[in-house]
Symmetry: C2
Subunit: 518 residues, 2 copies
Amino acid sequence: MEFSELIKTATVEDVLLSRQGLPAVRGTLCITSHHLLLSSCPRGELELWLLIRNVDAVEKRVQNLGWYQPPRSGGSPRDTRVAGSSGTITLRCKDLQVLQLEIPGMEECLNIASSIEALSSVDSVMMLYPFFHRPPSLRLQQGWHLRVPERHFQRVASQALLRSSQPLTGPNRRRCREDEQLLGTILGEGERGFVLDTRSAQAAKQARISGGGTEPRSGYPRWRRLHRALERGRPLQDSFSRLAEACAEPAVTVERWLGRLDSSRWLSHVKAALSTACLAAQCLDREGCTVLVHGAEGTDSTLLVTALAQLILDPACRTLEGFQGLLEREWIQAGHPFQVRCARSASSHARGKQEAPLFLLFLDCVWQLSRQFPFSLEFGEQLLLTLFDNAYASAYGTFLCNNERERSLCKVKESTHSLWAWLNQPEERHKYLNPLYSHNPLVIWPSVEPQSIQLWQGFFLRWIRPSQHLEEAWGEIRRLVQGNSSSLQESTGKRPSQPLPEPPAGTGDGKVGTAGTR
Amino acid sequence: MEFSELIKTATVEDVLLSRQGLPAVRGTLCITSHHLLLSSCPRGELELWLLIRNVDAVEKRVQNLGWYQPPRSGGSPRDTRVAGSSGTITLRCKDLQVLQLEIPGMEECLNIASSIEALSSVDSVMMLYPFFHRPPSLRLQQGWHLRVPERHFQRVASQALLRSSQPLTGPNRRRCREDEQLLGTILGEGERGFVLDTRSAQAAKQARISGGGTEPRSGYPRWRRLHRALERGRPLQDSFSRLAEACAEPAVTVERWLGRLDSSRWLSHVKAALSTACLAAQCLDREGCTVLVHGAEGTDSTLLVTALAQLILDPACRTLEGFQGLLEREWIQAGHPFQVRCARSASSHARGKQEAPLFLLFLDCVWQLSRQFPFSLEFGEQLLLTLFDNAYASAYGTFLCNNERERSLCKVKESTHSLWAWLNQPEERHKYLNPLYSHNPLVIWPSVEPQSIQLWQGFFLRWIRPSQHLEEAWGEIRRLVQGNSSSLQESTGKRPSQPLPEPPAGTGDGKVGTAGTR
């Protein structure tokens, strides 16, 4: 495939771009292999630079305003258009931004729309932008080998939080002696453990029909099984779509808004995920027991629970460095299938069957933690937004493919840049830091009462009601902290007690969290 | 009446005090004329100092644990109690705090409960605590004459925002030539004005039966009437009670919580009040028209609208000084009947008929503004909480009585201290400042979309899920700003661009807002 085959019209002049909350701009639209550009007239400033992979859905509406002007021989392609006809393309982006392009000429409009549709759904991973993006400040392979899982496992050798997929007992309740022995040896003399199944007892039973199942008590006598049903798959994707739609609905009443917020069930999923993570953390911290978390595949809600539990328990996971390690270990290396789960976002009703915003749910839960504990996470909301954006459409290879095997086959680490390498550059890194951070060695137990769970406005209303003032406030606080620290340094010659961001070294030491595989 | 008649038992030992989110304390309970005290055993530290006027409802439950010990002649009163009997008193406070006292001895329990009930509902204003409270740092009459309304009226002589009560047209559609002339002279040559009626057109019509009504178009040809129905009275009080109850309900599902939040309708009232204030502000600012606001009496929802409109429009109302002036002018001097409206709070279902949390609704709207514009108000959430607390139970005279006439009869200004005098002391004042404040000369137009209106957690969940961490965060920001300012001062010898709190002068200059009476 050549990109040029997909681009039917590369440039259109006199296009009107409208975005929520911003003045409309008229200019020249260009479609390249990976980007949509709009440079304004008459000053030629670049007004829009959109990664086409970020487009979730394309809606087009053409209208013929009346008369038809036949093509003249020798005329330019522009002359073939229906004079007076025009079209509007609405681009619904994966990050929930909505763009409208008014394009003169029906044919141009249809061409642009189908080009965007084709470019945004290119199947081949190796045709994606990360394989072409070469930022001058980075060199390839930088940031890819920061966190070798073996090093982490050495650190947490008396490992207490485990994750796995379901045992494959099947309808005949097959036993696996090796698995029983393995789980037996994990527990010390007289110790007991918990198996936290992220499916309902009913769903776990039903999984036997397709070869799955749960640990039978007889084979695992020292493990107590707990079931906490977490939503995944289609229902979670629908929940996300419904909430995004409700947020975008203008001029509603409070009743209708709260009704739609409620029926989206998103906040219930946030509460359930946080509650289950707290349960795992309690078993570990208060009961001192080993905990094994699994659902079916062990690559979705399982990771939600183990990653959140570590964030709650382990202060090392709450630094910017540690959080990147947590994501690398608990989401990327653990095999969360980012490519299929994040293929489409909220506006793609009933497209693929495999999309599900598990990772967004995780980021939302982290945001709830950061709101309840404004001092305890070294990173701020901006990092969470950037992670979402990059999981759904990125210039970097970090979230590409579905697992390590696919990444290795596609040579992702050799041929694309790491998002971490980009984020950790000093001039980038400071944008993601929480200016109020101060190391908190304690467990942070969140309140999971519904009254305490809030809508993540910074994400869900990002483009609708930009929280410009709140961002300015954080910017101001950041400046204050920096001013305060540097004036302290000047007057005392010492480093302040809350250290300022330091440029990270080229390699990390992987000092982070926990959780292994079986 | 003597207080001693109301206090049936003044002291009980071995009382167990339980509060939400705090460890239980055992100690000695004392009832004084105005306070309930509990000093802990064995260290004798004062654990609780509660203004009895803050008690909204008293619930008692006594239980006899078995045997009866007859009184011995010559025994102390304590011997008369039923041995093994005990009682529990639940105090629901006006500020939504809930306290539980476990009291040994059934009789003591009943005596304490009825003493608190009697003391918390003393009718006579002049028996209230403000007439006895004498803080050593203040002198009487300080802070009472800061804001003379005449001075304000001089400043805003081309007065553009007016308020009044309804015209008394009655069932016969009586006209009042003087009123028509008065409203005629307000408008300049060729000018038009808006009458913003805070009742529905239907309700305004019905008011004719009881002697009220609206301005007929024929008599007021240059005024255009707009109706925006705002809730008041009983429905608003019920809304408050329902929301407070929903907030206190433990272990609910997200669905139930959102359902109860919705059915309380509180956020709808917040949205309606803010929308109507924005409408008034738009007529003034964008149409350049004079606006007259009224409902029925002109002392409830009218004040909500005029006070909020001024806060939106006038930066002078957004300073700590200016906001006090706004409250003094638009709520206190304007005759909001604080005594009857704030007699009972959320836990007093179906008590009086005159209670209504109009002032709380105003404070909530101000909080929404402060959240949407974190730089633009000089004061923070703590001031809003303190104002609520003092409107419902206070050591100061500022919110006593229903109007200026009653305050004059009771000699409030001569015999009690002003809340403003207390708040404006340098060691108090800094607690109420917003560390991020920076003068914003612009109109602040809030978003009134339901998606932007949030539950005021700092008030409604204050005692249930204390936002200790958030408070610490603000404390930290405050320290940073102060550190930054003083280090700036040290290094440059200049005052910082964002001035730090200055002790207020003994007299003010009344440089504030607008709105007159007719």
